[in-house]
Subunit: 345 residues, 2 copies
């Protein structure tokens, strides 16, 4: 469930309260994926996520192929965030009259390219027409597989664990900013980089595999950053019933993001702390293991891991340590697409 | 995939041409569900279907609870049509501003009621907001289970098989007609019955179980009637590479439908042949077994089965035998919601 506003989270909580379950459901609503025991050697992961025109993308800021790739990638990212590999996808499209069949075919081409990267098979789907002035909707359900002993939930973080993150933070938000403000004068390479991070996110499937091999005793909690660091760290803290602090000096910030922030007069730190849709993995590591984990991820995937903070007792708020040593509360500001994209819709 | 127009079928064919597959996919796109081997004792069925405001329902003709029940029921029906039982559902909602949280909660209440009927567990989902003038969309993915030797595909019909159908045909179309023409004078009970058949379809899960126990050597092909008898029989014939004929005198027609047709001056046979969304099971039975199958279904579920025709060689068209013995071609007229519901949207 990516890029939600607070009211969406509140509604989800209302709707899913006291849902019935059964023995085959190892874990239902409340993590990146549901975890099902269908009797095979591995457990099955199931997740769904939709991309809605005017909310998650616009036809002015993404190509058809990019829209398809991203719709699939955000689901692969949810599977990766539980330590699994994506296996099967079902693709449901709701198509209004302003979307031509050729455009849909290009979207599907993006879906297929992204699926092939991880040998995910598109096994079914649905197409429905909708009326004039309706948005184009792509809703994907993905099934993945995970070793029984390797599942990493959001709920396992313990006091003293190290908070880690893959890659760079805030790039996607910076990319969206440049798309919404195309008339500014940006350095070409920096602008291309952050736009690509927004339009074609990279699900960290290989990294998730390395982390899941360490098992939940070492990599104790994990999710993918769709709502932004502040919002998603709050999800881990809530599920694990812990507090946390993040050191600003340790946050991984790309030079491209810094360039764009400088050129546009925007606050780089705001993008890094609260910008959504980076689809990096945010995870916690038992103390003493962080260098070993970091080295393994770098060696096997070429992706850097940053240790950005620590897990505190539940009595502590989620805090930020500024470069000068001052502390302040890190308030979660979940990424609200509507606020940003509706101007273009 | 229910209630499609011809252009939707053509687009699906274009998009899904030459999709890659792998060993775990027993059957991909092209039947009621995908059939996956996830290593357990039983195979996994996966299907998705969406209900779009203004196309599949309107707020003027269905209650929130009915919308939720139907959204789940049409997916259970797809699972039943392969001989499986529904097990898990993922619920994806796209919610525009005109849909209040209380309304969504009532939709979810309908979903939960319908899920509990067959012990289906809602294990996940997604909520996305959409802009003003967007339709409310409910997209459900359902996973089911089926015994390996009991799967019934669309493709198994053979020359000489008997064409059978559960329950009554055309009721849902008659019900929709009364909702679209509320000012006519209808007999109350008949009108209530056909409206209920439209608004709250009954997935034939128990019947599907009885039929699947006979196995695909006896019950050779099956699907659920979402597009209408003419369209769905054409799907079986196309997949099985056979022809078929249907005897008008054998079609199961409810007295309520006849009453409504009479009172509205409409053609009852048109609803029976072409009306969609009855969600009855259409299946073919090896010759000589039809009475045994019919008796078993009636004894175990209380649902009547009608033998309505026979499977012919591929060289034959799909034909209709009129009560006087004349033959004519049965042209498939797939159910197009838009034509009917958009007037109210």
């Amino acid at each position: 469930m990516s890029g939600k506003s607070f009211s969406e989270f509140a509604l989800i909580a209302r709707l899913t309260k006291n849902l019935p379950s059964n023995d085959a459901v190892s874990f239902g609503v409340g993590d990146d994926c549901a975890l099902l025991d269908l009797g095979g050697e591995r457990l099955t992961l199931a997740t769904c996520d939709s991309q809605v025109e005017g909310i998650h993308f616009t036809l002015k800021t993404s190509t058809a192929e990019q829209i398809g790739r991203k719709a699939l990638a955000v689901n692969s990212s949810d599977i990766a965030a539980m330590g699994g590999v994506p296996r099967f996808a079902l693709v449901s499209l709701v198509i209004p009259p302003h979307i031509a069949p050729d455009f849909v075919e290009q979207v599907y081409s993006g879906l297929r390219q992204e699926a092939e990267r991880f040998s995910t098979v598109i096994v079914g789907g649905n197409i429905a027409s909708s009326g004039a002035s309706s948005p184009f909707v792509i809703d994907i359900t993905m099934l993945g597989a995970v070793e029984r002993e390797s599942v990493i939930l959001r709920s396992g973080a313990r006091e003293g664990d190290i908070v880690c993150v893959t890659g760079m933070l805030g790039d996607a938000a910076a990319g969206l900013y440049t798309l919404l403000h195309p008339d500014n004068d940006y350095t070409f390479g920096a602008c291309e980089y952050v736009r690509r991070r927004h339009c074609v996110p990279e699900p960290r499937v290989e990294v998730g595999q390395v982390l899941s091999r360490f098992g939940p005793q070492i990599v104790t909690a994990m999710l993918d950053i769709s709502d932004g660091l502040s919002g998603d760290l709050a999800h881990i803290c809530e599920r694990s019933r812990v507090g946390a602090c993040v050191e600003v000096a340790c946050l991984p910030i790309s030079s491209s993001l810094q360039t764009i922030a400088h050129e546009s007069g925007q606050d780089a730190l705001h993008w890094v702390l609260h910008g959504g849709e980076d689809y990096e993995l945010l995870f916690t590591v038992a103390p003493g293991y962080e260098q070993q984990v970091r080295a393994a991820v770098l060696a096997e995937t070429g992706i850097d891991v940053a240790c950005i903070g620590g897990i505190l007792p539940a009595s502590e708020e989620i805090g930020l340590v500024l470069p000068g040593g001052q502390r302040e509360r890190l308030r979660s500001q979940s990424w609200d697409h509507i606020k940003d994209l509706s101007r273009l819709a």
